[in-house]
């Protein structure tokens, strides 16, 4: 029993960090929107890490799952707004739809792309993102290129004050919950057969196969889990916080690049890594844009390079190595 509990000790620093972020955001004037941005990057990293960190596969089409998740929420609100009595239940329907849609897309993509490896997998996934965007625009699905703007529907369903609170507070809180849930799922996987299988295939896929591991099955598990969380992040951080969806904005590859940087900065395959990476990335981005507006990228790029050079395994990877066989090491995985 004690063993069952101690294996989840690494969640403590994660929970403490998210609780601290929440408290800072709520109690320090002007901090909530900054915290919201940090939570977005942490959640993005935490969700992406389940696939990139645990399998070593780089999915350049990751933002497509966030995009369809955003559409899931947008469609629920814009198409069901006329049904009386749904109230806040429409948000629940939106989340369910977001998970369903991102899961379905990940099954379709995974069934084909996960047969490929390395650079071939990466190239195939870039196509998914662009292809899905052009499908929506070209076939005029879900309002095509005009997108969906649904602030008015949210105001109608929830009332102006509640809709405003949803966009400026509750959406961010949902992101926090998603980030924590993604971290918990990561730890559960790490401590189970799934995690061992994923570690084996990450280190040497052929060897894992020879040892009798069904690598395709475990890759698909990680892929779908990661995609589902991406759908949830899109639904809350984009659809609820920004009540509109335009195809070019939700299928922007830039977000996949950001997710990769966050995971690598913090430490791929570690539990705390995406959190630390998200904080470093978000805080640097925010304050550099304040202190040297317009020139921040000139400073930001060298900072990232220095961190990667100094900590090739990521910041948490370094900490993990330093604290191995110490009391603190139990909390850093």
């Amino acid at each position: 029993m004690k063993n069952q509990v101690t294996k989840y000790y690494p969640m403590l620093p994660v929970l403490a960090a998210y609780a601290a972020l929440f408290l800072i955001g709520r109690n320090m004037s002007g901090m909530w929107q900054l915290v919201a941005m940090l939570l977005f990057y942490c959640a993005l990293g935490q969700a992406f890490n389940i696939f990139l960190g645990m399998t070593g596969y780089v999915d350049f089409g990751y933002v497509a799952f966030m995009g369809v998740g955003t559409y899931g929420m947008a469609l629920a609100i814009s198409r069901l707004a006329h049904i009386e009595g749904l109230g806040a239940g429409i948000i629940v329907i939106g989340f369910v739809l977001a998970v369903l849609m991102s899961t379905m897309l990940s099954i379709a993509v995974g069934a084909v792309a996960l047969r490929l490896r390395g650079a071939y997998f990466a190239i195939a996934t870039i196509g998914v993102n662009e292809g899905f965007r052009f499908l929506i625009e070209g076939a005029r699905i879900w309002n095509g290129s005009e997108g969906i703007i649904f602030t008015a529907q949210l105001n109608q369903i929830l009332g102006r004050e509640a809709a405003s609170a949803l966009a400026t507070f509750w959406a961010d809180l949902f992101v926090l919950i998603i980030a924590v849930a993604a971290a918990l799922v990561t730890l559960i996987y790490m401590r189970s057969k799934i995690g061992y299988a994923l570690t084996a295939l990450r280190e040497d896929e052929d060897a894992a196969k020879v040892m009798g591991i069904n690598v395709t099955k475990f890759k698909i598990i990680a892929f779908i889990t990661s995609a589902s969380f991406a759908g949830l992040v899109g639904a809350s951080s984009w659809a609820l916080k920004t009540p509109y969806v335009f195809p070019p904005e939700v299928f922007e590859i830039h977000y996949t690049i950001e997710a990769i940087i966050i995971v690598l900065l913090g430490g791929a395959g570690t539990l705390l890594g995406p959190l630390v990476g998200g904080l470093i990335y978000g805080i640097s981005k925010y304050y550099l844009s304040i202190f040297i507006p317009g020139f921040q990228l000139l400073i930001f790029a060298p900072i990232i390079i220095v961190i990667i050079v100094v900590f090739p395994e990521g910041v948490v990877g370094m900490l993990k190595a330093k604290t191995r066989n110490t009391a603190a090491g139990r909390f850093i995985v």
Binding site: S29, G30, Y41, S164, W238, P243, Y244, E249, I283, L297
Partner: protein
């Protein structure tokens, strides 16, 4: 290694704490702006910042500051770079409102980013002025504090239609062919509605996909509809292709107007004689004739620098010999609207200034300014530019024109033989 980690941690803690130092309460009226200085809207963002700085300079140094409760109060402009990124827009607006304690927030460029910031400013009852979001739907969402300076997308071809209606009452058949994008479709809807109001017949209406490489099938179908004039476009690349293939297929019409592409010098450089007589709508062009005298004739208030003064102030603000475009002009005009509204309201309280903006009508170097109850810009008229002998001539509205329109434009065969579009 440990030392490096401590230094890195120290840097982030310092940034976190130093960044939170609240701004000193200053004797000024503060404008906050999450500007797009990098990322995909960097070009428009740089222009907007230059335009705002130019007009803040004019208000503070030429106008003497904003008259408020018997005092002349200067404007102060605080901006950060949002990198054309959604997440940064909301976090920076949060900072501007609570840490810098600005009195008004100017929205970033584009409809999407404007919409992203709106819930944050609305929740705080903060005035949010839009100079780069042309989507009409922003103003159908029930926002109370969003006020537009840029003309709405639906009005882009209004002036072109008015002009043709006036100079050629016999022209009835209009063809609409636009890019399949959120912005272009909004323009097309507005053009269609206004064309019907004026009694035009829509004989052809179709969109083409982004990144189109061959418009021949669409243009052939359009030719068969025998339009008197054609309105369309989307971006530079497709606009150029549109015009080139119109020439290839010898589709001659009395007038041809393209959004986004035709007003750019690169359009004529690329197409040369084929661009002669082609028109394009623009929010503002250097050369417009809006002046204090024009404002008097129109019976409205004039405020702001003259066009040449604005250009000089813009160059000073930009720190380089850069010509302002419409992004700069509309952002600058927004400063003037805000200054006038604060004076009218006698307060910087957002609700009072919002009300004053609703009642405000004026003219500046940018043209007219007036908004409806939803905050949508209805007072600003787009100008129509026509390529005449390699020069961009403002042909509409009459109050802003630098030359007469060449109508009907020469045929492509005539243009190939060297005929230029001179009235």
């Amino acid at each position: 290694m440990k030392k490096t980690a401590i230094i890195a941690l120290g840097f982030f803690l310092l940034a976190f704490v130093a960044g939170q130092a609240p701004a000193q309460a200053a004797d000024s009226i503060d404008i906050g702006h999450p500007a797009c200085l990098s990322g995909k809207y960097a070009k428009a963002g740089e222009q907007a910042v230059g335009g705002i700085k130019a007009c803040v300079d004019w208000v503070n140094n030429e106008y003497g500051g904003v008259s408020l409760k018997g005092k002349k109060v200067p404007l102060k402009y605080t901006y950060y770079d949002c990198e054309s990124n959604k997440e940064s827009v909301t976090s920076l607006i949060g900072r501007l409102v609570t840490v810098d304690k600005v009195d008004v927030v100017f929205a970033p460029y584009s409809s999407g980013l404007t919409l992203r910031g709106a819930p944050v400013t609305e929740a705080r009852g903060m005035l949010y002025m839009d100079h780069g979001g042309a989507n009409n739907k922003i103003f159908q969402q029930g926002f109370r504090y969003v006020v537009q300076t840029i003309g709405p997308a639906s009005s882009y071809h209004r002036g072109t239609l008015d002009m043709i209606h006036k100079i050629d009452p016999k022209a009835k058949r209009v063809a609409l062919a636009y890019e399949d994008s959120e912005f272009a479709k909004m323009v097309m809807e507005g053009a269609e509605e206004h064309a019907k109001e004026l009694g035009f017949e829509i004989v052809f209406k179709r969109t083409y996909p982004k990144g189109v490489t061959d418009m021949t099938p669409l243009l052939s179908a359009m030719k068969a509809s025998r339009p008197d004039f054609v309105l369309g476009g989307g971006h530079f690349e497709d606009g150029q292709l549109f015009n080139r293939q119109m020439a290839d297929l010898d589709i001659d019409t009395n007038a041809f107007s393209l959004i986004a592409a035709a007003t750019l010098p690169a359009f004529y450089d690329a197409l040369e004689y084929m661009a002669e007589g082609v028109m394009g709508p623009s929010h503002w062009e250097y050369g417009v004739k809006y002046s204090e005298q024009a404002a008097k004739s129109a019976g409205t208030t004039w405020i702001g620098p003259s066009q040449d003064e604005f250009v000089a102030l813009f160059k000073k603000a930009a720190g380089k010999d850069m010509v302002p475009d419409y992004h700069a002009a509309e952002a600058g005009a927004q400063v003037l609207a805000y200054a006038l509204a604060v004076e009218k309201a006698g307060s910087v309280a957002s609700d009072k200034v919002r009300k004053a903006l609703g009642d405000l009508q004026f003219m500046s170097f940018y043209g007219g300014w007036d908004v409806d109850d939803s905050g949508l810009q209805i007072g600003h008229t787009m100008v129509d530019v026509q390529w005449q002998d390699g020069e961009r001539i403002i042909v509409w509205p009459e109050s802003a024109q630098t030359g007469k329109v060449c109508y009907p434009m020469p045929t492509f065969a005539e243009k190939a033989k060297g005929k230029v579009a001179v009235p």
